[in-house]
Amino acid sequence: LLACSLAEFEDILFSKDGSDIIREPEFLQYFSQTVISITINKTAWTLKIIPYTHLRMVQRSINQQKIINLFIRFVEICATKGETIIIGAYTIFDKSMTLRIDVDEISDEIGFAHTITVFVGKENTANTISINTEK
């Protein structure tokens, strides 16, 4: 892939295997990891957008601000419901997209800053089936 000319590269991307090829590690190196620091109600959050997520954001024309806005709404809704955000995975459903996050760690001494890895899930929830198999 790295040895391809730009034209060959384009051909690969638009081929029927293009959607599979873009998941390969050698393609992902073209997408950087981004770290966004935000503060919501005096709590610091670090959102880590990994190269795979960056790729999907570019592909679906999702800008960083949309991710930030969705995350802020998630934090606010949890606060309203009195739910403490803890280490672990969350799936955040919105009308236009599903954001999956993993609260990795509490990264400051007093436990108020969290590092969150962001993944992008389904494009919309219209056909999402949520099945809980646990009792």
Partner: protein
Amino acid sequence: MQVITETIFNQTQQLAPSEKREILSRLLASQLTNEFGTVWKSVRFSDKLRVMAHLPTQEIFVEDLRKLLQTGALIHLENQSEGTCEVFGIDRTFYVTISEKREFVGLLNSWLPENSPVEINVEK
């Protein structure tokens, strides 16, 4: 089909494990014959399978995931065009992107069954 599937699935929660398997195995077969709206699927990869972790914290689970996928596993598709799905192992669930044709799996995240993702709806 999807609505019926969900109803049946919810009802199986009342059943014994063996009864659950009886229903789910038939349900899975019926889903696989339906090209559209296939949500559950079984996969099995050869020795050529390549697995990589997208996060350093997930690297310790790569071998377990590889073994699971080479033995055969049940997956729940999230986004067919992007290949994202959940792979259900005996004691761990993996959130991955799968390219069946290229036998490549990228591990995005994983969790223990008792710590499955908390689902929050933020729709306005």
